[in-house]
């Protein structure tokens, strides 16, 4: 039991759980980067702005790619080949789009882990976390449908595996397959559906980003120029060094129209790549363009590797467990104290409203004034948004806003006592 103001104030209010260990790991990494560079250019301090940067890059290059895309078979493949080889900047736009997608997934995961490890996702800060997990899944869907749009051999294998995967879901498996295929067979509706998912969820990402930012005052959405130049430069260099090519040309594994899905089965003892190559050979397709090996983008194709390795039931149990990400904020008990305004003392200067990092303070007309008096402003606190940080207390010269933990007068009394 604390017996003095000093004890109350010096007792740390950080939960001593796994969070402390994770926090030390994150801080240790950032400390090394700070010493090597500068804390104004530390990419870990822009862990939210970097995904934003990659998103804009993907959007800009995506518009170019969309102008040159025709969602039918086989024109999807041929038009992409044409754009890559013959349209000015086509190769670069395609390469930057593809590698920026990987870059986006990397920085989003760094962002998620950093927010988690430095304990900034609980209590009043839960909305960015929940929308963030949703955004992660939207990003995943946009990424994987992007691969399917090309309609090369890899897309077709991925389509076959996805349909097979959905088919193993009890009760609604058949309906899910029809939903993905746009019917009961693979037709041009399938590509159209992928195209819709790809663009629709990309728009959805922008919408949920608004909710992701809405509880933050002046969110950092852009990085300093040296940082984004470096990341853009890295993306361009990789796009030039490892040009993106289609994997296997037409004829397709699903020739003609109205064909059903070819089941994808593996024989014992084969690797994933060998099984795919076997399947391609069995379909009588010759690999004539690009490299003969399959490039597997593990950032977006990891569920297929898992589905290949484990039984369907276990696979779906694992994927359902990933939903637990939404509940991470509830793993630690969070107290939710909030600031309160002393109405008589508030003069309506708006400094707390401008300083609050979480948009938890708004100004309203003072309701207690007598009629006929000139309207004055009063600060009010949105309790659900308040993290009890005390920045508003620091901004108030009139001691009109306080947090429950300790009041301004108690701090001043402690100062006087410590100076004596």
């Amino acid at each position: 039991m604390a017996t003095s103001i000093q004890e109350v104030m010096t007792k740390p209010q950080i939960p001593k759980t796994y969070i402390e260990v994770f926090w030390q790991i994150a801080l240790w990494m950032e400390d090394k980067v700070n010493r090597a560079f500068n804390n104004r250019l530390n990419p870990f301090y822009y862990h939210g702005a970097l995904p934003n940067f990659f998103l804009f890059t993907l959007f800009a290059t995506g518009i170019f790619l969309m102008f040159h895309y025709i969602p039918t078979r086989p024109r999807a493949y041929t038009e992409i080949e044409f754009m890559t080889n013959s349209v000015p900047f086509g190769l670069w736009m395609r390469g930057v789009h593809r590698y920026a997608a990987d870059g986006m997934m990397i920085v989003v995961l760094v962002h998620m882990f950093r927010v988690w490890f430095t304990d900034r996702y609980r209590g009043a800060r839960i909305l960015p976390w929940l929308t963030g997990v949703l955004l992660l899944w939207l990003l995943y869907i946009v990424g994987i449908t992007g691969y399917m749009l090309i309609w090369d051999g890899r897309s077709q294998i991925v389509t076959a595996m996805t349909l097979q995967m959905f088919g193993t879901v009890p009760l609604i498996g058949g309906w899910l397959q029809d939903f993905l295929r746009g019917g009961d067979a693979i037709t041009d509706y399938t590509l159209s559906r992928y195209f819709s998912f790809h663009t629709m969820f990309a728009v959805g990402i922008f919408f949920f980003l608004v909710l992701h930012y809405i509880r933050l005052y002046k969110p950092k959405t852009s990085t300093p120029m040296p940082l984004w130049l470096i990341f853009l430069g890295i993306t361009f260099i990789i796009a030039g060094a490892i040009p993106v090519t289609n994997d296997v040309p037409t004829p397709l594994l699903f020739p003609g129209t109205g064909d059903n899905v070819a089941g994808f089965s593996r024989s014992e003892g084969t690797t994933y790549e060998a099984a795919i190559a076997e399947q391609v050979q069995a379909a009588g397709v010759e690999m004539t363009s690009g490299n003969a090996t399959w490039t597997i983008d593990w950032f977006y194709m990891w569920p297929y590797g898992l589905f290949y390795l484990m039984p369907a039931g276990a696979f779906w149990v694992f994927m359902t467990m990933l939903l637990v990400l939404f509940f991470v904020p509830y793993f630690v008990k969070t107290h939710r104290p909030f600031a309160y305004v002393i109405e008589e003392a508030c003069v309506g200067c708006q400094l707390c409203y401008l300083d609050c990092p979480f948009n938890a303070i708004e100004m309203i007309e003072k309701p207690s004034l007598k009629k006929g008096r000139k309207p004055k402003l009063l600060a009010i606190v949105y309790e659900a948004r308040c993290t009890s940080c005390g920045v508003c207390v620091g901004s108030c010269a009139y001691e009109a806003i306080e947090i429950p933990r300790v009041r301004s007068q108690e701090i001043e009394a402690a100062v006087a006592a410590l100076c004596s």
């Binding site: 003095s4 950080i14 801080l27 990092p357 901004s395 108030c396 301004s408 410590l418 100076c419």
Partner: protein, 166 residues
């Protein structure tokens, strides 16, 4: 041997007050329960949830109460747990954000330390010690600029003006 009492006599007690964000460093490692630092009892710390909670009035009260220096310690710039509390107090001290430190208080007696829990304790103690030296040297070199001297000077001015009006 009589000496004229000069204002440059060494202060009797040394007090450095620190307003410290509890996330910037693990305070239990460096503090006694009464708020004095283990390695240097002249330095007394008050733990707060965020460095942005510091009102300029707290720093001013510390200096008025006779402290030679007052500093604010927070997370590294760019890494405030509550996003921008450390930027906010930095600007209040630099007098670019209201409420600001009043002009009559000397910035040499006010310090900021930006720190991280992953950094070494020796580095922190070194930063605190160098701020303490800076503040004490300023007090010795410019006693006329200290709040007590200014208050005494203003009281004399008021007296002489009152006398002149009579």
């Amino acid at each position: 041997m009589s000496e004229t009492a000069t204002a440059t006599a060494a202060p009797e007690k040394i007090r450095i007050i620190g307003f410290v964000c509890e996330r910037a460093y693990d305070l239990e490692k460096i503090l006694n329960p009464d708020g004095t630092m283990i390695v240097d009892p002249d330095v007394r710390l008050i733990g707060l949830p965020c460095s942005g909670m510091v009102q300029p009035a707290f720093i001013e009260k510390a200096l008025e109460a006779g402290a030679q220096g007052a500093f604010v310690m927070g997370c590294l710039l760019g890494d405030c747990y509550f996003r921008d509390g450390n930027y906010v107090i930095k600007e209040r001290i630099e007098r670019t954000r209201r409420p600001q430190i009043k002009r009559k208080y000397n910035l040499e007696q006010i310090g900021t330390i930006w720190f991280s829990r992953a950094m070494m304790e020796e580095e922190l103690l070194g930063l605190v010690a160098s701020f303490k030296d800076r503040a004490i040297n300023f007090c010795k070199a410019h006693p006329e600029k200290l709040p007590a001297a200014i208050a005494a000077h203003e009281a004399e001015l008021r007296k002489s003006r009152a006398a002149a009006r009579k």
